[in-house]
Assembly symmetry: C2
């Protein structure tokens, strides 16, 4: 018997095949019942007829409980009204494990609270909606990697254990290393990227990053994935162009390959279809002017709040790039604008529809003396940054890069409310299980 | 001026172009000098003639120091004797940053000790050999991901912060979470993979894993990357077949795309070319018999030492698979062999040439009662495993998977001695910097 996955049904119409999965749903009416079976690749509506299966087997199937595991054999038929476009006429089946009535599958079609669902995350991911979100996550990750791999970037994984902080230690997780040594979990691979970019020209790192922020909002995770490209011989303009091109590529891949999942999420496709280059670009100066006109209390020199980000991005149907921020709200390593040294050559990319910042980056200081001055001004321990200063001692060049948070990007593309649904097992302030 | 990367030279022969990089090496003889320039994508031999550049510029270039950054313009010419097959006749150049003679680039062609090189890892990666190894690492990672992405596996990133240990807590790194809570850094995503496999059918996780082992050998890193696929409705045989197919795919990709890098490492290509299916397979029983004949002190029931692994694999020109191990040397979750319940349905894959185990995996217990019994026998806290037991309460099916350590695989493919050279910034017992 030829076992196929449900996603392969189209290539096997008219054939008798076997599928192996779990009972997702079941309707019955008298002498016929319609088990819906999921196998991870899709959902298949099956048609089981008492006259075909015999009384005993039919009753067994009709009374099967949700999420019981079973293997079915039967002939495939195209059927436009069925969820995936195909139906199986069941000839025979085997039940592998029947979920007992007394201890039924805990997630039912009724509403559950978020804590209950998060406590059952290991099962919740079987639900149609969560399944769709995580399939889109996979597509986004693959698209991001494919983009960089096909544009001359070398993957250079940066370390998770780091001795020093990139931007202060208050939001760092501390790890007990050997012999009472302390190390910290990375918040960004950027400083290391600058070293690998000088070795490989164009690089990216893509891995988990950590932030010990005591925030309990729908936008915070303590453990999240980030992609960070870095380019030698590159400037702020290159960062804007690469970020724009990469995001267009990612969105077009999702539109191409994940239509069914976007439909399950009831995503407005026109919103994604309008994500095309060129993205609108404005300076921080212009952004502050616009915000003031819209009634924001922001003053020049201040950072954008979430509301400011929404006010700015609501004007546009695609991501907005804002650049040249006041130096005092940016990290020590930003290259200053040559004309106006009070401005940092940084850029933030704000997703449309109020999804906020998904990309942040810019050009790094390449002059040794200026970098040393900044390290001192920021009261950073110079000794810990000697290796980073080496990059300016030995063949320093203009270089630039950015970081994109994967969960933020997926949340926006899915058009959903909560970051926590975009990662298989979210880690938050009060959530480290399962 | 058209700026290209050195790797694009073939498409621009006869054209006048610009390259931007770092001085890798320089020979000169009178009125002509030959700067070798690297840009991360390759190395270009350049020809600079005094009569073309003028006295002053020629002297400047001739005296340029190693790793100084510069941009060169000139015409490309095919030249078989040159390292990359092309040469540039230099018309003009700009030096971006000159490394001063008084503080020269610290890594010179002379021999350096391993500690010195590891202290300068941020620069060492610019060396030809390290560059080649990390390019092969990139190729391996990409091939692994491409294999799973094109064979119906869904990427499901498993968490780094874990509440409980998979196999005991002695080698776990502890993290201070919020409010005095302790969490641990993952050693394996397997238990979570079993949950996602029940939701997606076939899954893989690919990320950093951590092991707090006080070993200072050439095979140990505290932070290393691992890929772990898991399949629902699958058995030990499926694991062997997928591992074999994946490894053949990875090796063939490296042979296809990384010839130049393998040549730099002086890798014996015939060794890699013989890595073809079918791989030899034997049982643990058979392996013990062979080892005894070869004089190993091993007795039935014991685990293989490094020497045993070498003794076994030296018989073969491709990876060897050994399966069905005594239950007492395997983790609690292994499915027992139906005929001989004292054997675990696990498999180890030993790389040839004495490189040892690179894959370990097998079939997991799917019966609720047996799993519960094992959790008790191993004195594991049942409460912490309730979510894992849920996977056997709600639609349990036979399932299986494996893990492959990326650095071990890269070490073998590169044919090198030390794991630490296969990751950009290695973390070891006494090594957390740079």
């Amino acid at each position: 018997m030829n076992r196929i996955t449900i996603s392969q049904a189209a290539a096997h119409t008219g054939e008798t095949v076997e599928i192996a999965g779990w009972l997702y749903n079941l309707r019955s009416s008298g002498k016929i019942c319609f088990p819906q079976v999921r196998d991870g690749s899709g959902i298949m509506q099956c048609v089981a007829v008492k006259a075909v299966l015999g009384d005993e087997a039919f009753e067994k199937l009709k009374r099967l409980t949700q999420e019981s595991s079973l293997v079915l054999r039967g002939k495939l038929r195209a059927e436009q009204r069925a969820p995936g476009g195909f139906e199986m006429d069941v000839d025979a089946f085997d039940i592998l494990q029947r979920v007992p009535e007394e201890t039924p599958y805990p997630i039912t079609p009724k509403e559950h609270g978020p804590d209950f669902l998060l406590d059952h995350r290991h099962l919740w991911i079987r639900s149609r909606r969560q399944h769709a979100i995580l399939k889109i996550r996979h597509e986004v990750v693959k698209a991001v990697r494919d983009y960089f791999d096909s544009h001359g970037f070398t993957l250079c994984d940066t370390p998770i254990f780091t001795p020093a902080a990139c931007e202060g230690t208050t939001t760092l997780f501390e790890v007990d290393y050997f012999e009472d040594e302390k190390v910290y979990l990375t918040q960004s691979g950027q400083l290391y990227n600058e070293a690998t970019a000088a070795a490989f020209g164009k690089v990216y790192t893509f891995g988990p990053t950590f932030r010990a922020e005591k925030s309990k909002t729908r936008r915070h995770l303590t453990e999240f994935w980030m992609v960070e490209p870095e380019m030698a011989y590159a400037t702020l303009e290159d960062v804007k162009n690469v970020a724009e091109e990469m995001i267009c590529f990612v969105v077009s891949r999702v539109l191409e390959n994940r239509r069914a999942e976007l439909a399950i999420l009831e995503r407005d496709l026109t919103r994604l279809e309008s994500v095309k280059a060129p993205f609108p670009r404005m300076s921080y100066d212009q952004a502050v002017e616009i915000l003031k006109k819209k009634g924001s209390p922001i003053e020049w020199g201040g950072d954008f709040g979430g509301t400011d980000e929404t006010l700015l991005s609501e004007e546009f149907d695609r991501p907005l790039m804002v650049d040249r921020f006041p130096m005092q709200i940016k990290a020590f390593y930003f290259e200053p604008d040559a004309q106006r040294p009070e401005l940092a050559l940084g850029v933030d990319l704000l997703a449309p529809e109020g999804y906020g910042e998904i990309v942040g980056g810019g050009q790094r200081i390449h002059d040794y003396n200026l970098l040393l001055q900044r390290i001192k001004e920021h009261h950073l321990p110079q000794q810990a940054f000697e290796w980073y200063l080496d990059l300016r001692r030995y063949g320093s060049v203009p270089h630039a890069g950015f970081g994109m948070g994967i969960e933020r990007c997926v949340t926006w593309i899915c058009g959903i409310d909560h970051l926590r649904e975009t990662i298989p097992f979210p880690r938050m302030l009060y959530r480290t299980k399962p």
